[in-house]
């Protein structure tokens, strides 16, 4: 691996700022199982000449490695459109583009100590973004193999436990219980509300009502007895 010295060499980037040439007409779409292309056998993909943008990004990353937050923030913002373009070229669906951007930003953050400022930052970012995009496509494909879209099957699937009248019956029962509850003496009603409906502990309910645990138990017992009797009578 040779180290190259920084050479200020102004190269006009492509219009979309991706530094990637546009696909040739009729060029076969790349197989997502394949790894990102590299220009040399053993060297990381790196153009011979580096653009001014690339040199600026390298300098920003070097500053970020030293702890410069402003440079880092500017660099990450600058990376977002590049990542989106690379993800798009890899065939990531637009609705999953955000996942790739987020994941690549996290990867840059966690792997920032592995970047060598003597090398092209854009090439470094491109390989990482391509790998993350491929990871996402594999994930999507794995999910796609397990799940399938069948809205008709979903709508016509019978729910064995479904009871169309259940909601109405439940509302009626609740209403009746509330009516009977309202007829109870205040202390008994308080005990039911706190211990049963609000599921408070005896200690909490005793503290809230300034009563004793024993008195609460008695009131609850009497209240439940009255409720049961009244509801049985009213059918």
């Amino acid at each position: 691996m040779t180290t190259r010295t920084l050479q200020p060499n102004v190269m006009v980037p492509y219009k979309d700022e991706t530094l990637l040439p546009p696909a040739f007409p009729g060029m076969a779409k790349r197989d997502i199982r394949r790894e990102p292309q590299s220009r040399g056998l053993m060297s990381t993909a790196e153009p011979q000449t580096r653009s001014a943008d690339d040199l600026r990004r390298s300098a920003q990353m070097a500053a970020a490695q030293a702890g410069d937050r402003a440079a880092y923030e500017a660099l990450l913002r600058d990376c977002v459109p590049l990542i989106k373009a690379i993800a798009g070229r890899q065939g990531v669906p637009p609705d999953r583009n955000d996942d790739v951007v987020q994941d690549v930003l996290l990867t840059i953050h966690r792997a920032r100590h592995t970047y060598d400022p003597a090398r092209s930052f854009t090439a470094w970012l491109r390989v990482i973004a391509e790998r993350r995009a491929i990871d996402l496509l594999r994930q999507v494909r794995r999910h796609g193999a397990r799940e399938f879209h069948a809205p008709l099957a979903m709508e016509t699937y019978p729910d064995e436990g479904a009871d169309p009248g259940r909601g109405v019956a439940h509302a009626e029962a609740t209403g009746r219980v509330n009516e009977v509850l309202a007829t109870l003496p205040p202390r008994q009603r308080e005990a039911v509300e706190m211990l049963v409906l609000q599921e408070q502990s005896l200690t909490e309910a005793a503290a809230a009502t300034r009563s004793t645990k024993g008195a609460l138990k008695v009131n609850l017992h009497r209240a439940l007895k009255t409720l049961r009797r009244t509801l049985e009578r009213t059918g």
């Binding site: 953050h109 100590h113 470094w124 990871d135 994930q139």
Partner: protein, 222 residues
């Protein structure tokens, strides 16, 4: 670029930014690991019968060629593993140990032929072959642990491949060091056990290291 949906994440990452020490070049890191292997070799040499080992290795060209092959595999695979541990490393680095591995396999295979031609050669019995397996696997455990710790410092985006090539370096190093305590010539049974041990170490490294280095899932918060 105000109002970008990534602003909160970028702000969080910037707030979390701490100065980092740049990772040394992969070759230097590989040399660090190989230095640890060399230190173990020096330690083992103090227990070994070096004269006997030297006589055995120099007795036939295939013997020292096999040792050279395994040592070259260890060195090249270590360099390849540390290169692959970088997030932007090309997969082609995985081919780097191939010349060493070919020499190792070819010389060992030639050794098998010699045993058939010279039947009086002392070949390993099953018990001795089992000792080889135990030696390679036992020595691979600390070497793998060190390799994992060192590889983890980088951020491999090809976790399985990186761990497998690291495992090849470990297994080749262990097989090379085995020569200190290997008082018999290469034979088919012995080489089968060696190959089995190497495969076991590589597969175990791939499985364990692959999980250990696995990149975080998508959209997981920092």
């Amino acid at each position: 670029m105000t109002g970008s949906p990534y602003d909160p994440l970028i702000s969080d990452l910037a707030a979390d930014l701490k100065p980092v020490r740049r990772l040394p070049p992969p070759v230097l890191r590989a040399l660090g690991w190989l230095g640890a292997v060399a230190a173990i070799a020096v330690g083992l040499a103090s227990f070994a019968d070096l004269e006997a080992m030297w006589e055995r290795i120099t007795a036939a060209p295939d013997m020292w060629l096999a040792v050279l092959g395994s040592a070259a595999t260890a060195v090249l695979a270590a360099i390849a593993a540390f290169e692959l541990s970088l997030p932007d490393a090309p997969r082609a680095w995985a081919w780097l140990p191939l010349p060493g591995a070919l020499l190792w396999v070819a010389a060992s295979g030639f050794g098998c032929l010699r045993v058939w031609i010279l039947p009086e050669t002392h070949v390993a019995v099953l018990g001795e072959a089992r000792d080889c397996l135990i030696f390679i696997v036992s020595l691979s455990v600390p070497l793998s642990a060190l390799m994992f710790l060192m590889l983890r410092r980088a951020y491999p985006l090809q976790p399985g491949l990186t761990a497998a090539i690291g495992g090849l370096a470990v297994a080749a190093a262990a097989a090379t060091l085995l020569n200190f305590f290997h008082p018999f010539d290469a034979a088919a049974t012995d080489l089968t056990v060696h190959a089995f041990a190497v495969a076991l170490v590589v597969i175990a490294n791939r499985a364990l290291g692959g999980r250990m280095f696995a990149a975080p899932n998508f959209a997981r918060p920092a």
